[in-house]
């Protein structure tokens, strides 16, 4: 049996269901991210695991024990909040020691554990500082140390990096991942930042309107999105309407131009309109060696983004964006130039949703 099991979880506020039909089985030591836009129910689901919200229906089991009806202080979960939530009246060391004192541990046990935690977050020199004397990044590291000091069964992080600036965010997410890997603690991480989720997680749960749209590894979620929502939410994507010609052969027409998808068109009927997804980095321009789909079009826009040049090519009613690496010795193409875009059969994904 999995370490954390969430079964048929549902939460309603009045008539409005914020989470429904939510199932998840996370293994011991796994890092799972809940990814989705604001209001998709990811924080509510996390809060139900923490015990701050009571599910309307469904069960939550941690290591085989049903914790659905238990209070937060009976669950042995560590929580890190977006707003740090350090106790302002206590020093860094007192904050980290708080959970251990509450658990009735002896001073001889608390002191070394606090030292160990402060070393882990690389802040042993700030033990006697108060939270208001620390930067946001330091406060969040202390909050992490405080949460894991009690050796929780599960670590829950609710958008812990959202309040920090970009540079700190990147360094801190690497630290959080390193700490998680060192301790081997099962972790649920809530974020709306796809880069965070993709870079840190063993698995991602993409959530939309209270439901898990897709659960998979970052590789699966990014490369094989199952729905239009997942495809559009994770990474940049070309979404085009396609008319199915021959489902068995994977033939589909985009704006009258026939292309082939080797991933198949499960259950599609000829003439049906389906959404076709294509990553910008999977498309090349005027590549004579390319084998696969080719479409003639005209360059509509060229955006120089530094290391990458993003080009939009128009075909009648549709357009495709593609990324090429910047080459200092080659000028980017001009607007209005006639070009051929090329992409492999395997890179063309036909989604389950209608366009």
């Amino acid at each position: 049996m999995s370490f954390l099991v969430i079964e048929a979880l549902r939460k309603t506020f009045g008539q409005h269901a914020v989470v429904e039909h939510f199932d998840l089985a996370a293994e011991r030591g796994e890092f799972v991210s809940f990814l989705g836009p604001s209001g998709c129910g990811k924080t509510t689901t996390l809060r139900m695991v923490a015990g701050f919200e009571t599910p309307t229906a469904g069960r939550i089991r941690i290591d085989g024990r049903d914790v659905t009806g238990l209070r937060p202080n009976q669950r042995n979960v560590g929580m890190v909040f977006q707003s740090y939530a350090l106790f302002p009246n206590m020093t860094v060391a007192q904050n980290v020691a708080f959970g251990l004192k509450v658990a009735g541990r002896s001073a001889a046990e608390i002191g070394p554990r606090v030292d160990e935690m402060l070393k882990l977050i690389k802040l042993p020199h700030l033990a006697e500082r108060y939270p208001y004397q620390l930067s946001g990044g330091q406060q969040q590291r202390v909050a992490l140390a405080r949460a894991i000091a009690i050796k929780p069964q599960i670590l829950l992080l609710d958008e812990p990096l959202s309040a920090l600036d970009a540079k700190i965010r990147i360094s801190l997410r690497e630290e959080i991942k390193a700490v998680q890997r060192t301790l081997g603690i099962t972790t649920i991480y809530v974020t709306h930042d796809q880069e965070e989720a993709l870079s840190m997680s063993d698995r991602i749960v993409v959530m939309n309107e209270g439901k898990a749209e897709q659960i998979g590894t970052p590789f699966e979620i990014y490369n094989y999105p199952r729905t239009r929502f997942v495809a559009s939410f994770v990474g940049t994507l070309n979404l085009l309407p396609g008319k199915v010609i021959d489902a068995a052969a994977g033939r589909i027409a985009i704006d009258g131009r026939e292309v082939v998808s080797s991933r198949g068109l499960a259950g599609a009927q000829p003439g049906e309109i389906r959404t076709v997804a294509l990553r910008p980095e999977a498309v090349t321009l005027n590549d004579p060696r390319a084998d696969g789909n080719r479409m003639e079009g005209t360059i509509e826009d060229v955006a120089f983004l530094g290391s990458v040049v993003r080009i939009r090519v128009r075909f009648g009613e549709s357009s495709i964006s593609l990324d090429t690496f910047n080459n200092p010795s080659v000028q980017p193409p001009e607007r209005g130039q006639a070009v051929t875009v090329c992409f492999a059969h395997a890179d063309l994904q036909v989604l389950q949703d209608a366009a």
Binding site: R75, V77, F81, V102, P131
Partner: protein, 263 residues
């Protein structure tokens, strides 16, 4: 563009004079007990009066009791309103403001009617129980100030998240309230406590009608029968109030820590 500061300074000076001139006049009058010279004779008489010491001691004791009961009543109430029952906030605020619109004399007549010696709860039947009734009355009178102070303090910290953080670390309600919440609203509590103290020390109506030996009725008695001593007492009362305000500042500034939101 540089704005002229003359206008604000004139307004400030007029305001200051409005408050300071009567005070200086009172102080000057209190020094004129001996003919032809300034002296602190009125203060010596007042401070040496056993009734002053007895009534001031009595009112101080009742003020401390009022503060303790007020804190025990208001802090958990304001905390729960903030945390679990925010919709009830307007109702509770309305209730806490009632003592400002219902005169103390109405309250005390209500008490006398409700708790007289032939009622079900005869709180006026003995001095001890009357002291208790007076303390409850003071708690009611101080409620608007105590509740506002504590509520403002609670709003300045993220009560919900701090509570949840403590809960996730295994803490139960008493630990959360006394180790996490109370220390972080310390300066607000002190504000409420000192305001309560100042109100109780000068309160007349309830103490007089319940016939208790408090400082307020003593002030009135001296004022009705003596010339210079009431002025000395007024200055002493001002000094006590100012001392309270000063203590609020000292302890408020000394409160350690601040939430990220209040930095």
């Amino acid at each position: 563009m540089k704005t002229s500061k003359i206008g604000p300074w004139i307004a400030f000076t007029l305001g200051a004079l409005y408050f300071i001139i009567p005070l200086i006049a009172t102080f000057e009058f209190s020094l004129r007990l001996k003919r032809g010279e300034y002296s602190f004779e009125a203060y010596r008489i007042v401070l040496g009066d056993p009734r002053f010491q007895a009534t001031f001691g009595y009112s101080t004791l009742l003020a401390l009791a009022t503060i303790v009961i007020g804190v025990l009543l208001v802090v958990p109430t304001a905390y729960w309103i903030q945390l679990r029952l925010p919709k009830l906030r307007p109702v509770v605020e309305f209730i806490t403001l009632l003592p400002l619109v219902i005169p103390a004399i109405v309250l005390v007549f209500g008490y006398l009617k409700m708790y007289n010696s032939s009622s079900l709860l005869p709180l006026t039947s003995s001095p001890w129980s009357t002291n208790l009734l007076l303390t409850f009355g003071y708690v009611t009178l101080a409620l608007p100030y105590m509740y506002r102070a504590v509520d403002t303090g609670l709003r300045a910290i993220d009560v919900r998240t701090l509570t949840e953080a403590a809960e996730s670390l295994g803490a139960k309600w008493p630990t959360i309230l006394f180790k996490v919440i109370l220390p972080n609203v310390r300066s607000a509590l002190l504000s409420g406590a000192f305001l309560t103290f100042a109100i109780v020390i000068g309160e007349f109506t309830m103490a007089a009608l319940l016939d208790r030996p408090a400082f307020g009725p003593y002030l009135q008695l001296i004022g009705a029968n003596r010339a210079y001593e009431p002025s000395a007492l007024a200055i002493i009362a001002f000094f006590v109030t100012w001392a309270c305000m000063g203590l609020i500042q000292v302890f408020g500034r000394g409160a350690r820590g601040a939430s990220p939101e209040t930095r």
